[in-house]
């Protein structure tokens, strides 16, 4: 561990502090509003039923079960539409909570939504069979013959497939692309479920306000998917005409891809952000890679750095200069503009250095404002470390390096050697509680850093981390 420079006093910058406070407050407010909006949409789904005078029709067990079946269907579908919105990569949502947080919510909603929709089918079948005085099988046969009902059963089947394929245990058995293809079936499922909602459901009757609202939800969900996941990336890729200029191996299995393009500054990339890249060669076009910018783009050039992890990313080292590249993004809130405090603490390990490199380049740092801790098991993994030291903004700021293997049998993010010297998160960052902590590295390692940060009492809003695992 080496201390490169002494810690000078940070000169207070009241304007920046104030701007940061205002920005943070706005972002928090927006995040809270988004959460409230999501839950209100669930309440709205129940309200659609109530507003139709649904409760007055509940007179006995059969009608009670039927009512529960209708409400679970409305709420379950609403949750699925919320999930689509969360997955649509809407810029506002990315800016406010980050796409990874949005996707964490998306994942958490999956199972509840499926259970609600299964309950919807089950409860209505039971409710109707009680009312009709026939058994459940006969009722199911009768239901299946109803208008648009075959499509509804198809939708349910597709949803079961999608959710089962997303269970961690099952997901691991497939390549990402296969899983993703299965996942796209959920769009089909939500669409083919629509006809029976309108024709068989009493709540969404033709010409009712309820129906208008419901169709509005569908338009919002599918519209944002179409716009932000397909139209915008296509337009962007065509406009910027990005191509690979050079492939620079920087260590074993790690390459920097130098890209050229038109008006790349108009992407308004912030340091620390990533984009989802697709390289149009025969071997790589089917795989989109989330890769961080390892330097701030200029108007004509950009640089991304990637380590060969999966099958697809190892092929990236072999793409030729001139290869056409399409871009989705930039995304991410691992950025300077999401700071809340006067100081910056950065911990990076391995290839996690890439967003840190562009973050520190872009951040308007003054001497003493930032402290950086770089971690690698051995010197061969010290990617881009020398670049960090020579960034203009790092002048007068400390860089610690922690090399060496971790001790076996101990859950720690530090090396055995550093641990032996009594190094902790708070000894490396004495001003941790007045800092924003940016952590980037392998997932399990990152979790250990965050564990220590929380133990030290660092509020969540000051912890910046972006997860790329799927």
């Amino acid at each position: 561990m080496s201390l490169r420079t002494a810690l000078p006093e940070v000169v207070p910058r009241p304007t920046q502090d104030r701007e940061r406070r205002i920005r943070t407050r706005r972002r928090m407010r927006a995040a809270d509003l988004l959460v409230a909006l999501s839950w209100s949409s669930v309440a709205m789904a129940v309200s659609l039923y109530l507003a139709g005078g649904g409760l007055a029709r509940v007179t006995d067990l059969a009608s009670g079960i039927t009512a529960a079946g209708i409400v679970t269907g409305l709420v379950g579908t609403d949750l699925i539409l919320v999930m689509l919105v969360l997955a649509a990569r809407i810029p506002l949502i990315d800016r406010v909570v980050g796409q990874d947080t949005a996707m964490a919510f998306h994942r958490r909603l999956g199972k509840p939504a499926l259970y609600l929709l299964l309950a919807h089918g089950l409860l209505l079948t039971i409710g109707y069979s009680l009312a009709d005085g026939v058994n459940v099988v006969a009722e199911t046969v009768a239901l299946f013959q109803g208008e648009d009902m075959a499509l509804a059963y198809l939708a349910l089947g597709l949803l079961v497939t999608v959710v089962v394929s997303s269970l961690v245990a099952v997901r691991r058995r497939f390549p990402y692309e296969v899983w993703h293809l299965i996942h796209l079936l959920s769009y089909v499922a939500v669409l083919v479920a629509l006809p029976h909602q309108l024709s068989a459901g009493g709540v969404l009757a033709d010409g009712s306000v309820q129906q208008v609202y419901w169709l509005g939800l569908y338009v919002l969900a599918f519209g944002s998917i179409a716009l932000f996941r397909f139209v915008l990336p296509t337009v962007r890729s065509a406009r910027h005409g990005i191509r690979v200029a050079a492939v620079e191996p920087i260590a074993a299995g790690v390459v920097s891809l130098h890209l050229t393009g038109r008006h790349l500054d108009r992407l308004q990339t912030q340091g620390g952000q990533y984009a989802i890249w697709r390289f149009w060669t025969g071997a790589t076009w089917w795989h989109a890679h989330p890769i961080s910018f390892s330097a701030m783009p200029t108007s004509t050039s950009a640089r991304i750095t990637v380590r060969a992890l999966g099958q697809g990313s190892s092929a990236l080292g072999r793409v030729r200069p001139g290869t056409r590249v399409s871009i989705e993004g930039p995304y991410g809130i691992f950025t300077h503009s999401h700071r809340t405090q006067a100081r910056v603490a950065v911990v990076a390990a391995g290839i996690g250095i890439t967003p840190v490199r562009s973050l520190l380049e872009h951040a308007d740092l003054q001497p003493g404002e930032a402290t950086v801790l770089l971690r690698a098991t051995d010197p061969s993994q010290s990617y881009l470390w020398e670049e960090i030291g020579s960034l203009p903004g790092m002048r007068g700021n400390s860089i610690y390096t922690v090399l060496g293997p971790r001790p076996s049998g101990l859950a720690t993010w530090l090396s055995a050697e550093a641990l032996g010297r009594g190094v902790t998160l708070t000894s490396a960052f004495p001003d941790l509680l007045d800092s924003d902590l940016y952590v980037c590295g392998p997932q399990a390692w990152t979790d250990l850093v965050i564990r220590d940060a929380r133990a030290a009492g660092l509020p969540e809003v000051q912890i910046h981390v972006e997860r790329f695992d799927w």
Partner: protein, 159 residues
């Protein structure tokens, strides 16, 4: 901050639910709204002495005609699952039979519900001698349409 998000969510959800509840309980029972729609949709079919007031209210208040006899066809009541129309047979002021001319039949499901509900409704009406009956649960639309059409037939018969 999280707490504020939870608080906001609870407040706004409660507000949305309250409005939904209010709207739901504020609307008149479904049968009367159906009957109004019927009057508008099929003008001239019925010439009610008094405005059709729906199933929930006692039978019409027009002049008693104890000796009314004959067959009276009610107005066709539109429901979400198809039209419903009934005919009553009256002998000396007593309803002796109710014939369903048309029942909710939009789909398989509606047909099966109608077939189940119709005999029950007929029995209830013959026993009560009015449209003021309990109806059949699980066959709400059929019941509403049936009783609406029945009321207009009763009105014609002056019962």
């Amino acid at each position: 901050m999280r707490r504020r998000a939870i608080g906001l969510s609870i407040l706004s959800s409660a507000a949305v639910l309250a409005v939904g509840w209010q709207l739901g309980s504020g609307t008149q029972p479904l049968s009367s709204s159906v009957s109004q729609a019927t009057d508008a949709a099929v003008p001239g079919t019925v010439t009610p002495a008094a405005p059709t007031t729906g199933a929930a209210t006692p039978p019409a208040t027009s002049a008693p005609a104890a000796s009314a006899s004959g067959t009276f066809t009610g107005a066709s009541a539109q429901t979400r699952f198809g039209a419903v129309q009934v005919q009553i047979v009256v002998a000396d002021g007593t309803v002796t039979d109710v014939v369903a001319l048309q029942l909710t039949d939009e789909d398989q499901k509606s047909v099966s519900i109608s077939n189940r509900a119709e005999p029950v409704l007929r029995q209830q009406v013959l026993a009560a001698q009015s449209a003021n009956v309990q109806g059949v649960s699980g066959a709400t639309y059929t019941t509403d349409g049936y009783l609406t059409s029945l009321q207009s037939a009763l009105d014609q018969a002056g019962l």
